[in-house]
């Protein structure tokens, strides 16, 4: 297990170096940065002085090395747009996105798994047919449409929930949370419902399909032939086998949630990283874009490693070291 972890960490480092290279290259796409730093009538000597001071005269790989070294400490330089450190900007915005994604992911799991089990165990019931119908809508409607529909119904017509912003937030250290106030919680409802809808239906349909597959296997038939109770067969014997593929998809989708958060944050004017990124794109604010890219990649890498570790917990066949020890 330890060997596996070390291998995965080394792999992850290479992935992050590659991502950093792409982020670094973004700066070059925007043309010679010196042009935007000196006055238009600057002499060649003045330009060279700036170039030398910023280290831009050095070979590319030295510059890349410096970029990586500074990025590793969280230093992505100053935002070109509002001249504040990029890391501060991201740190301000991170809690909003994290809370939104956390609530959406939690909702999709807590509702998706039970609904998937329910529809798998009663494949012909009316409630299953209804859920399958609505899940088809959930999986095929673009999220921005559902978001706008949610605003129309719950904010404009019914007036129950706010249509934008995070409500009142409470600061705990550098983390600003909306979990502790009523308005913060109310503000979370619509965006997280919009964000989770696709994942929820995906997980429900996936759990249903996997569970029905597992219920057809020989070991479930043998469990029935041994007279085990339905409860044990469904929740002990079948569920654990069902969840193995579900975890993979959920891990991948968790990254997708962060990516989709950009759309949700735009629709609900949610002050998160996604909104920051959209602003950065429209202003050509490369340091923010580069930092966002690196950060999101890091989250993906961490999630995928966690998923692989979870596999070993759920599926004993993958515990290579353990299997060897038992022989």
């Amino acid at each position: 297990m330890l060997g596996f972890l070390i291998r995965r960490i080394i792999q992850s480092i290479f992935v992050m170096l590659a991502v950093a290279l792409i982020a670094f290259m973004m700066f070059r796409f925007m043309g010679d940065p010196v042009n935007s730093l000196v006055a238009e009538n600057a002499t060649v000597e003045e330009r060279d002085a700036v170039r030398e001071r910023l280290g831009l005269d050095q070979p590319l790989w030295v510059q890349y090395g410096r970029f990586v070294a500074r990025a590793a400490t969280g230093d992505f330089g100053l935002s070109w747009r509002n001249a504040r450190p990029v890391s501060t900007l991201l740190a301000e915005r991170f809690p909003a996105t994290a809370e939104l994604v956390l609530v959406a992911a939690g909702l999709s799991l807590l509702l998706g798994i039970p609904l998937g089990i329910l529809t798998a165990l009663r494949p012909h019931s009316f409630s299953t047919q209804t859920l399958q119908f609505f899940s088809l809508i959930g999986i095929s409607l673009p999220t921005f449409v559902t978001g706008i529909l949610l605003i129309l119904v719950f904010s404009v017509w019914l007036g129950w929930l706010p249509s934008f912003g995070r409500g009142t937030v409470v600061d705990i250290g550098w983390w600003s949370t909306g979990f502790l106030t009523l308005s913060g919680l109310k503000a979370l409802v619509l965006p997280s419902v919009m964000l989770c809808l696709f994942q929820l239906t995906l997980i429900m349909r996936l759990v249903r399909a996997e569970m029905m597959e597992v219920l057809r296997t020989d070991y479930i038939k043998f469990a029935r032939a041994r007279g085990l109770t339905n409860r044990s067969i469904h929740f002990r014997h079948a569920l654990k086998n069902t969840l193995i593929p579900v975890i993979t998809i959920f891990g991948l989708q968790l990254g997708g949630l962060i990516a989709f958060a950009i759309v949700t944050e735009t629709v609900f004017q949610w002050p998160g990283m996604g909104a920051l990124f959209i602003q950065a794109v429209s202003f050509g604010d490369v340091p923010v874009m580069a930092a966002y890219l690196v950060l999101v990649s890091l989250i993906f890498v961490v999630i995928n490693t966690t998923v692989d570790l979870l596999y070993a917990v759920l599926d004993p066949r993958l515990r290579v070291d353990g299997a060897r020890a038992a022989h």
């Binding site: 296997t217 020989d218 070991y219 038939k221 043998f222 469990a223 029935r224 032939a225 041994r226 007279g227 085990l228 109770t229 339905n230 044990s232 002990r236 014997h237 654990k240 086998n241 193995i244 759920l314 599926d315 004993p316 066949r317 299997a323 038992a326 022989h327």
Partner: protein
């Protein structure tokens, strides 16, 4: 002592093109400690008979007619919950493929202990003792250590031993073994067969051994039922049926077993194929392939003649020696 009696059992599957009878008028009985073999081609209804006895016919299939009695008590009309309690406790089942019969994410011990505790009121420690004891009885070396390992850490033969332990751990009176050696290497097959014989003798469990392998029947079974197109065509003591088959189908089966030392130009075989359930002929289902076909065979279906222990369903057989 008779453990199981099946009388005129018919299992039907209602479908779009009308109702199909998977098995028809199957009658048999098994006594304690006895091994009853069931042979026949794929689709003859051997496994379906086993599934009907243990109450696990896949819907929409259902028992249309007949009775199943376990120790004199009818079990074919029990409620699902009563039938569940009976499975494992009074009727065990051994499945064909040991590689897929065990749950990969639970240890062998967890699966055994759960089965024991479902049927017997035992504290966990005693259930574990019993599980270890059963692993030892089926020939797993070092059961104290192996009990906490997962199925993938066992070989195919060892897994089939675990399956047998799982089927017998609540000490049922009857066990239905559906092709228990088909998925195994030949060398391992003999070991599993020997183990089944030994356990049947030791525990007095009645065994219904479903197989298509005449060799396995000859080695293991006390009596044999030959199935063809959903019906039992011949049933009797293994020695009688194998050496003096009365039904032309049984004779054909026996003749098609290749013998060492003989190299005939063509291997003997029964011409044609078994009719599908929805296309069974009017009279005897074997008539189209039968070398001794008579005029009556295509008109009238032969009823089984004889006793529950030795009977033949063929117009050729007028009298069956008791």
């Amino acid at each position: 002592m008779t453990i199981l009696t099946v009388e005129n059992l018919t299992v039907c599957f209602p479908g779009r093109r009308g109702t199909i009878n998977a098995i028809e008028d199957v009658s048999l009985s098994v006594s304690a400690g006895e091994i009853l073999g069931m042979v026949g081609e794929s689709g003859a209804g051997k496994s379906m008979t086993g599934a009907a006895i243990i109450g696990l016919i896949e819907p929409p299939g259902r028992i249309a007619k007949g009775e199943i009695r376990l120790e004199g008590e009818r079990i074919d009309n029990l409620r699902p919950e009563a039938m569940r309690r009976l499975r494992g406790r009074r009727i065990g089942a051994i499945f064909q493929d040991p590689l897929t019969s065990l749950n990969p994410v639970l240890t062998v011990g967890e699966q055994l202990i759960e089965t024991i505790q479902t049927h017997l009121r035992l504290p966990r420690s005693q259930a574990r003792e019993r599980a270890i004891d059963w692993l030892r009885r089926v020939g797993i070396p070092a059961p104290e250590a192996r009990i906490d390992t997962y199925p993938h850490q066992y070989s195919g033969g060892m897994r089939q031993r675990v399956v047998i332990a799982l089927a017998l751990c609540a000490e049922p009176q009857l066990v239905i073994a559906d092709e228990p050696t088909t998925a195994l290497d030949v060398s391992v097959q003999a070991q599993i067969i020997a183990l089944l014989r030994k356990l049947a003798r030791e525990t007095g469990v009645a065994v219904i051994l479903v197989t298509h392998d005449m060799g396995v029947i000859a080695e293991t079974a006390d009596r044999v039922a030959v199935m063809y197109a959903g019906r039992i065509v011949e049933i009797g003591e293994v020695a009688d049926v194998l050496t003096a088959p009365k039904h032309p189908y049984t004779s054909g089966l026996m003749a098609s077993i290749p013998r060492i030392g003989e190299r005939p130009e063509t291997l003997p075989q029964i011409e044609g194929a078994m009719p599908r359930p929805h296309a069974r002929p009017e009279g005897c289902a074997f008539a189209p392939r039968c070398p001794h076909r008579m005029e009556i065979c295509t008109r009238e279906r032969p009823e089984p003649r004889g006793t529950l222990t030795r009977s033949v369903a063929c117009h050729l057989t007028e009298e069956v020696p008791a």
